[in-house]
Symmetry: C2
């Protein structure tokens, strides 16, 4: 996981400009563990780049996602979350306490291959975030 400042050349080489807002967003994602929703990114980014607007945050998350520097995850419940690109993986989020566990991309690979063979589709290897109850919360709530 590179330091935020190292993203400048990365952006430039892909034809994108290096702006303070963009770096603030990368810094925020760098400083937080796990996923962050756009609103949270905005709340933190404005501390680093006071004039930044939500519009800019939303748009840059898209841009950064398209460059591959940032990953977008669809969380069950219909919300998007973002994180710095790292080793390919998916997430398992506790629906009660929010605890997160990651699992490797390859875990899904078998399913994807099977589905591709059966359907003829070329499946996007997007991040997926499954939800459930973590061991702690299972104890506290019987077995459901």
């Amino acid at each position: 996981m590179p330091r935020p400042s190292e993203y400048a050349p990365e952006l430039r080489s892909r034809g994108f400009r290096v702006t303070s807002q963009r770096l603030a967003i990368l810094q925020v994602l760098h400083d937080s563990a796990g996923h962050l929703q756009p609103t949270a990114v905005y709340a933190r980014a404005r501390r680093l780049s006071p004039g930044i607007t939500p519009t800019t945050v939303y748009r840059n998350l898209q841009v950064l996602k398209n460059t591959g520097l940032v990953w977008e995850t669809s969380r069950l419940g219909g919300h998007l979350a973002y994180e710095l690109a790292a080793a390919e993986h998916h997430h398992l989020v506790c629906r009660r306490c929010g605890a997160q566990v990651t699992f490797r991309q390859s875990t899904m690979a078998g399913i994807y291959r099977k589905l591709e063979r059966a359907s003829g589709y070329a499946i996007d290897h997007d991040h997926v975030s499954l939800s459930g109850l973590c061991p702690e919360c299972r104890k506290q709530s019987g077995t459901a």
Copy 2:
């Protein structure tokens, strides 16, 4: 897939009231193949139940989901979509033309079991909607 009118007793038996708005929403879902996003449900439902409001649609989709009569799917891209409950399955949606293919719940079951063993989590067997390119669209766009 029962006819919409058959849902009345179903609702009542679970302690929910049967309203014209609720039936309109069920009718809409019944009449359309595949998933529908809330906005689309509203657009069609107001033809059947002119005074209906978006608020009512959003709230009822939640209620109907909680009764189990309707399923909610998290589509990649962060949008929720709804459909009448049917045999457990997931979806594979073409990101270009929107074509949908379904695959059985059991396809994911192995992954879920494996993850549950490894993580200790109890995984929610929510609907998942994967995206990709269908065979047609693959042809039209090289191999990507």
